[in-house]
Subunit: 443 residues, 4 copies
């Protein structure tokens, strides 16, 4: 992703615009076809020095101005007439924005592919662990047992929604920018819309209903979609890093030489992929906010708001990629310790079944009494360090209503596992990932 | 909007959930129909004191816990048995989130209606002023003439796209929340999905593929859509407030008694609607960022991230409404001073036609020579405080290539107006607003 | 805090300004003393309806305009002449900003007192647990043993620095606002500075070198200081909530009836104070960003930036208070389970001493060999589920360099405890909290 | 600034830490002096390839781990024994944080120098234009006349306060980071504090009361101070860019070849320095928010929050520098058009004196009558396009109370200029900038 949003790629995006513009204008009869040919030949980033251009850009106000000058000089060396037609009728923002859209298209394709891989890996985890019991945890405290498949399918759902949202936002943003000096295409006379139409075909981008120099909603929506994807990844990373605490030890990032090592502690196995995703999720909100903050741009082209996007949107792409890649690796190789999951449930001494017991007692004794009975049993269990089941079994009133087989049933986890499994199956059926039947392999 | 997101409305949303849940559970055979009837009767915010509930909430951790307790007490007063079934199998987040979704539905409907009115007003402005010349301004400097209709139709496009985006995000977020303690619906045994299905019908909301306690992408996307709408309004307000500067004086917020007055200066007519929209656009990015920041929520229900949404999303709705309402009034009553628009173009002494002249000269003398000739004429025009046209007319070389009729044509603005008009017509045709033919009335 | 930043308090702050202004102007001979007396009498929020004023404010553009009108009407009822002198020479922003500063002063005093209590509680924890061993954890993984006192004194340092920073920012912001229509005090002729001087005495605020209508750095700095305090509290809450996970169980929020209960799960004891602090820490960054975003305000008084502060700064005060209060209660009553702390260290089977062993071996065998030996022992310890010490003892090469007493020493934790204790003592000595010697009581 | 925060400078900062650590440890008798000498020799960024290190860093989790390995290899090539002592007892965060502090020191020095130059330039503008009348503008509308010196001295005040705040924050952040694996310095046994003391001397940084791995308040405060500076610059840029609108034309960025040119419009002179400052002011709030968001870091060293700082703080330094440098150039060469300032006042036809007239009339006729009379005159002035003074002169009632000489006095601007001048003089006297008497040259 750093390559797609490198200085060179920005330069090439602008040159691709200039080249396509020349062709479009030649098709529309605005400039001679021969000029378009010469211009095209020189629109290669290899011929230019970005660092020199960047210096000139800070005086000129943007990078397209020196790029266009340099391109014109190069073309003029070959054909002075053709050089006249470089950037004909366009403004520098046309070039920069369209170039950015070309970078966006590549960047989104990359993310989409990675998100697809992540979705597949998560679907496999969900299918494989649809009935693997694990503590459900709320407020960072044990709640009731669920299954690890339910956790994984929850991650999957968020990833799939984010991916879809990103694709939609990218589609909406896949439009050319061509407006000329103040967005009216006036410099192209009555051929403005023809050129625009042709340009959009050249670049396989849509033609928007209007130039959008100072209307940035498409870009901001795209940034927001990146932010949502990063946030969804941050949630997965938060969960995995918490489950990976040595005292919990239920999952672990896959080990690899040099990964997650410490400069001093040989025993360390740090969750570096989770850290990358959490760092991205810490940074994305501020970067997304910057895009929103830049929206109220002045008149036909503004002062500051647009410029604030230049490094911000690329940074969001890079963060998304640097969170997504490693986390996909983690999902594909996740080490799952089902024994520890069970052990951690057991270590609660059955307290996490308190809700089930209370609900089972309620029809017989009423809710308040049920809760009182359960609370008393919880207290005994804690005081005597015994299982809640034992504490309940020792209570005559409870025993009157809940027979041992019934208590067995409640404490067997079966109902919780079953309930979670139903949700996992339903969610997998609604997912776009298709796994081979009876396996967790993708079709 | 403040009413829709008031304390009382939040309370009512939660009660609506509890009432619908009871009905859904009675349909699914989980609780007796009679209990559902009694519960429903008491689910009216009028019976409760929000301030007392809020106090209890800060100890309990959320507002639903004391609401459910208070509801249970009220129901118990009438029917102890029915009280057992209040909130049966649900968790407090189920109630709070579903209640919020109900508020969201009302809030979005309100915004959508206002945005529709604003779109109509802007379409009328665009149609009426499709050919009204105004300075195009970039970098806060005169660029080339465009038309005021082009400005207005640009605003319209952003408003329509934002409105569509908001509707989509609202549709995606219009799902019930029902997961029980840890999102597995386990407390409802094998009736969980039936209850959920029934609940979604009761409330006319969709059933999501999974409970989404700790997966907030739908809420964040909605917040982002509100932010984009607010940003689009901020851009309109920025433009209007700038055009309304006394030195420019091209448009003005409509006057009304008491509006925009000063506590000391009788001559003042402050753009208060623009100020409201700009304040909203200043606040929205930070609020949206908060929603993104809350995404990485821990495990099945998190600690802090969810709570951070509670006041943030409502605030975004309020800001959107308080920007949209006044700005719609402004658009409907905008005072447009076409004479000043023309005067401000003329006051540039024709300098804004420099690009046109240079482009017209280029085929004959080449680009560099054309620009040199124009720059020399600009310098003469500035030094002698004469029109650029006059300065050009005094140059023999220029006169050789540009005849007086040709110069007339260039300086007539016709080509610029025509170019802008084409874009306005095309964009109006693509807009959803339908105006009556030959008028600017809406069909 | 909600009271200090309530609507009524905002109103009273503005009235306090108007009253003090009248007195200052009477001292400076600008208005008759009798007028000041009458004005003062009516400057009581009880006489006004905030909701009516708020309605008028949205048309006028700010709340001071209708307040001043209402005050003038009230005064006029008693004395028409005196009414002329209400708000004499001031602008509405003078009243709003100065009123805000008065609220800030009260708000900061409240926070400072609470932060002082929190600091004391943390100092006691640090002193009491200076030598209580606990796992040091980095990357959410066990690192090396430290002491719980070191953790607590780290929290203390951040709280004390934040408190100091807040006091400084509050001091810098404790200035009157008085500039009149455009910040030049022109309406007060040559008495402007006299009035300003006198006003600052009346309100016990400093006189700034200039009116600061559009220069908001003092307010933004204050908001940032609130944000830093909230962030420091968020860090404490993060740590406590993690240590409170049942699988770790090293500390716990103190229990209290109704605190942290669940609507369904009787066994639950949720960290609600931590949740409040973490929610505040999730919201503060966006709110602080809003204050920064509002800084580039136009000319003498701006459009949107100032208005964006109105609800944002108060919200930061409320969040700080709602994080600080509960967290102080937690620190004062924190349940510390030193046995679990020790148990969790032991549960690592000595792996957390790996760094110490490697460092002890390095002088004899070189770093690389030392690390290889330790890694091999770690692998054996993991494979055979034995203590690292045992695994090391079984290695001839290791035994050649590390005698059993030396290994005892390393695995005794003594050196780690001692090192932490030294830092705790030094940090407590530098703290402003004074504890009674030999106890953890405050002097 | 880009150089100070370049990859290479980051690398050198870390190497400077390692070198100084070795010396400090040799002084404290922890490692042999000869080892420190060899280590020092190799701590030169020239010997390392940042891009290779960066690749390894993404697996390891941070950049210091591969740097330390590479350094150790280099040292080992010369002296295997010395290589054992590289990074002895430290953790990678010690190196990264201390290295960052070294970069911060250089970055702040650069900003401070530039801010000093800007302050001087603004003080000169203030002194020179202390009595130059200009429209005071509020809500982007004419308010009352002030002087341009008052505007400039307002900018100056904000710059000086921001500069002071930045220096304070930098001083507080100028502390070493040395804590070892989990912040207890345990690996250095009883020599930990000695080494720390010595290290702080080596680097001329303060010794903090504790290691601060997971307590980031100093860094966040520094980021906030940068944000406030950037915001203050953004305000200046906003004002200048507004005053530079061609319809206002009161000031202008100095012209220079290639500065602010357009790719198509020869007449353009774009405010590129203002754009840079406004872009920075648009981006800073989100970046500052990121630093705040990272504060709640887990335990002894966190997961994500720290990593989120790595690119964010440097970016704030770069933005501050890129706003400050060009804006300083603008302030030093600002083109001030005092004639246009006067003309724009006159163009209001005296309406901006309405407050003065009303205040002058109030003692005679009462406030309400005064305002009515003025409002009627304003209406006549607007309707008949005459001066407010003329409209007032034609009113018998007004003439009864305000004689022509009195009206002359009011409309002369003298009182407004005088009032502003007083404030300018007072503020300049309180400024740290010393200008030569009777000139605007700095002493």
């Amino acid at each position: 992703m750093r390559e797609i949003f490198s200085d060179r790629a920005r330069l090439q995006g602008i040159l691709d615009f200039e080249s396509a513009l020349a062709r479009a204008e030649s098709h529309a009869g605005v400039i001679p076809p021969s000029a378009a040919d010469v211009i095209k030949k020189h629109c290669d980033a290899q011929h230019f020095s970005y660092s020199e251009l960047a210096e000139a850009a800070s005086a000129a106000g943007n990078i397209a101005i020196p790029i266009v000058s340099a391109l014109r000089r190069r073309v003029a060396n070959e054909n002075a007439k053709a050089a006249e037609f470089v950037h004909w009728g366009a403004t520098s923002q046309d070039a920069i924005d369209t170039g950015l859209v070309l970078q966006i298209r590549r960047g989104v394709a990359l993310l989409d592919a990675d998100a697809g891989r992540l979705a597949t890996a998560l679907a496999k985890l969900a299918a494989k662990h649809a009935t693997t019991p694990i503590l459900g945890r709320t407020w960072l405290q044990p709640a009731v047992p669920i299954t690890f498949g339910l956790t994984a399918v929850g991650w999957l759902g968020a990833v799939e929604r984010s991916r879809k949202q990103l694709a939609q936002a990218a589609r909406a943003a896949s439009v050319i920018q061509l407006g000329g000096a103040a967005g009216s295409l006036a410099a192209l006379g009555d051929r403005g819309l023809d050129v625009a139409q042709s340009l959009s075909k050249e670049l396989s981008l849509e033609l928007p209903s209007l130039p959008w120099h100072a209307h940035r909603d498409r870009i901001v929506n795209l940034g927001a979609a990146l932010g949502v994807l990063i946030g969804a990844l941050g949630k997965i990373a938060r969960d995995i890093s918490l489950l990976m605490q040595s005292e919990i030890g239920e999952v672990s990032e896959p080990a690899a030489p040099g990964r997650g090592i410490s400069s001093t502690m040989p025993q360390k196995h740090n969750p570096v992929a989770c850290a990358a995703a959490l760092a991205a999720a810490t940074r994305a909100p501020g970067l997304v906010a910057t895009l929103f903050a830049g929206m109220p741009q002045e008149h036909q082209r503004g002062l500051g708001g647009w410029q604030a996007e230049w490094d911000t949107l690329p940074e969001l792409f890079v963060l998304a990629a640097e969170a997504l890649g490693p986390l996909t690796g983690v999902a594909e190789g996740l080490v799952v310790n089902t024994a520890r999951m069970r052990q951690n449930i057991d270590a609660t001494n059955g307290l996490v079944m308190a809700e089930s017991v209370a609900m089972a007692l309620t029809p017989s004794v009423g809710r308040e009494a049920a809760i009182s009975l359960v609370e008393a049993a919880i207290q005994r269990a804690l005081d005597q360090r015994i299982q809640l089941r034992a504490a309940l079994g020792g209570d005559a009133e409870v025993s009157r209503h809940l027979t041992p087989p019934l208590l067995d049933q409640i404490f067997s986890l079966d109902d919780h596992v079953k309930a979670a499994e139903r949700l996992v199956e339903r969610a997998l059926a609604e997912s776009k990932v298709r796994l081979k039947p009876d396996t967790t392999e993708r079709v």
